[in-house]
């Protein structure tokens, strides 16, 4: 894929949050945590003066807020489902079984009644462990169309679920970013798939790193040789720069193509063998009674 100007890559486009009514999914695995990128998205949304609601299941409020600047906290609402997600104590602020579009819309309307908010779910894997995938997908779809939510950003640990479940959630998403560890320490690789409203799908891969202030620096395209070879690679001419001539003139090329190769059983050879020319010996064969003679194919080797 031809690269765009470096400052306007797919990843930075997604960070600018112009995708309203969409569902952005960040997929990670054990080898690289997607939470750093998730925090970058939260930071970018807060800097744009958006109201952000976080449904926190995987990590505590302190851990999630670590690194975010404190003056934006008034726009950040953390719904604590980390402390007691299954209701084992009698005082649970939010349990995982309350994950439904009605309850979530209610929560969102409590704090930002007029403006549609950005909903961040950390993480969907926790929810999928206790709620059936169909119910989760249904809830996400209803939230997307509901109007109370401007964008949904979800984190999913793809190595914790079967491919079918991961595939179903990805289908719902308008953009999917799969993060993997990069070759150098601080860098990571992002594989981005974006589905536009017209149905067009664009894909891209970018190497990025996240600084301490949660800004994302998009570095470059991955350049490892395992990738698809570049078509602009020049063909090396082996007949150049030699002390002897290996090139063919047109007449020589024609003669070369006309030449019949010795061990290839071509049509011309077949007719030459079958209809031997004048002067060559003929073989007359008269079979005995005990011979198994097939009139049509005496030697049983004709390609008839």
């Amino acid at each position: 894929m031809l690269g765009n100007a470096p400052s306007f890559t797919m990843l930075s486009e997604l960070l600018q949050g112009t995708d309203v009514g969409g569902f952005l999914l960040i997929q990670d695995s054990c080898s690289y945590s997607g939470r750093h990128l998730l925090k970058s998205f939260i930071d970018a949304a807060l800097n744009r003066e958006e109201v952000v609601h976080v449904l926190g299941l995987d990590v505590s409020e302190e851990e999630l807020k670590e690194g975010l600047k404190s003056f934006v906290f008034q726009r950040l609402h953390f719904h604590d489902a980390y402390a007691d997600p299954l209701g084992w104590t009698d005082n649970s602020p939010f349990t995982v079984h309350q994950f439904s579009s009605s309850r979530l819309t209610e929560l969102l309307k409590q704090t930002a009644p007029s403006k549609p908010a950005t909903l961040v779910i950390d993480s969907l894997s926790w929810v999928l462990r206790h709620i059936s995938p169909t119910a989760v997908c249904h809830t996400l779809q209803q939230l997307k169309k509901g109007g109370a939510v401007r964008t949904i950003i979800g984190l999913l640990h793809e190595d914790m679920h079967s491919r079918g479940i991961v595939g179903s959630v990805c289908r719902l998403a308008t953009s999917v970013i799969t993060v993997e560890p990069g070759t150098k320490g601080e860098e990571a690789l992002a594989k981005i798939t974006k589905r536009s409203k017209s149905g067009k799908v664009t894909q891209d891969e970018q190497i990025f790193s996240i600084r301490k202030d949660l800004t994302v620096t998009v570095l470059s395209k991955p350049t490892n040789p395992g990738h698809k070879r570049s078509t602009t690679e020049e063909q090396v001419d082996p007949t150049a720069n030699l002390t002897f001539n290996l090139r063919l003139t047109d007449a020589e090329r024609e003669a070369k193509e006309k030449l019949a190769l010795p061990f290839v059983f071509s049509k011309e050879k077949k007719t030459a063998l079958l209809h031997s020319g004048p002067g060559s010996g003929k073989i007359l064969y008269e079979p005995d009674a005990s011979d198994d003679y097939d009139q049509e194919d005496p030697d049983d080797d004709l390609d008839v």
Binding site: S33, D58, W88, H157, S162
Partner: protein, 307 residues
């Protein structure tokens, strides 16, 4: 002239201070056994990062030496330790800890250590004879499908006790620590992977976030790492789930080239959290050799047998 053996008498003139110094130096010698590990982890019993979930894992190897290290480490750091030991008896851990310079019996008597001996308690679940406090913790053996809520409640009661203030006789212990050896045995007892992950989540919530203590769990895998079978209800999925929850993992495995007498294996250290002191490599690999009274760690290729 034959040698005469006679009883050694301790000189009464030795002062108390000298005795203390002697004790401290012998302790230091024992501590020195794990100083390499402490320096890799950048910790010491005097100062360690609170609120951490450390995952120890092994594949076709034995990481239990790390459990013994952490047990003696946190006891020396004067933390209140809750040890859920499901695979070995109390006397086993006691014998090994003595070599590392801590006495588990003493710690238990002082109230510093709460020890759940899974093997013994499970017998009383199956053959109930009298009402036992440990009963409830292991009740998941009767009904594994119900989950580990009762085990979590046992852990909660053990660690919350310490910060509850206590009576006049209670000593002031440091932050609580939960140690588990090992978590994968729960899968063999019929508990689902999801239930174990819920249990570890709740332990993390209570011990790490609420009480700023640490949690150390050991998970064991057998067989090769399966890359594509993500919904396999087994130790691989449990290890992945726990890795997502932890902030530091120590993965022990044998050498990829095979058995070696002088190098018993390698340990891969993975830090998830970005440390505040700047740049650090998120992954480090060291090789180790287990001795009688400790373990020595060295960078790859620098074993004394090779140099």
């Amino acid at each position: 002239m034959t040698r005469r053996w006679r009883c050694r008498q301790t000189k009464p003139t030795k002062s108390l201070e000298e005795n203390e110094n002697l004790q401290r130096s012998s302790e230091l010698v024992r501590l020195a056994m794990f100083t390499e590990l402490n320096s890799i982890l950048n910790t010491s019993p005097e100062s360690f990062t609170p609120g951490e979930f450390i995952l120890l894992s092994d594949r076709q190897s034995d990481a239990s030496f790390l459990i013994h290290h952490f047990l003696s480490f946190y006891l020396k750091a004067r933390c209140k330790v809750c040890f859920v030991a499901l695979v070995q008896s109390f006397s086993h851990y006691h014998a090994v800890s003595q070599r590392l310079g801590v006495s588990l019996t003493q710690a238990k008597e002082k109230g510093q250590l709460i020890f759940l001996e899974g093997l013994k308690e499970s017998l009383s679940v199956f053959l109930p004879q009298e009402e036992n406090a440990g009963h409830q913790a292991m009740s998941f053996l009767r009904d594994p499908a119900a989950g580990l809520r009762s085990l979590y409640e046992f852990v909660q009661s053990s660690v919350v006790e310490s910060s509850g203030g206590g009576g006049a006789s209670a000593e002031q212990w440091g932050p609580p620590v939960l140690l588990m050896d090992d978590v994968s045995v729960l899968l063999s007892l019929g508990v689902r992977v999801g239930a174990v992950l819920d249990f570890s989540h709740y332990c993390r919530t209570t011990v790490c976030s609420q009480l700023q203590g640490n949690v150390v769990m050991l998970v064991r895998c057998d067989g090769e790492a399966e890359e594509d079978d993500a919904d396999d209800e087994g130790s691989e999925q449990l290890m992945r789930g726990l890795t997502h929850q932890s902030c530091l993992t120590l993965h022990v495995q044998g050498l990829p080239t095979g058995y070696c007498r002088d190098i018993h294996g390698q340990v891969e250290f993975c830090w998830k959290k970005r440390q505040s002191d700047g740049q650090h490599a998120p992954k480090k690999v060291f090789q180790f050799k287990v001795h009688d009274k400790g373990v020595s760690f060295f960078a790859r290729g620098t074993s004394r047998a090779v140099l």
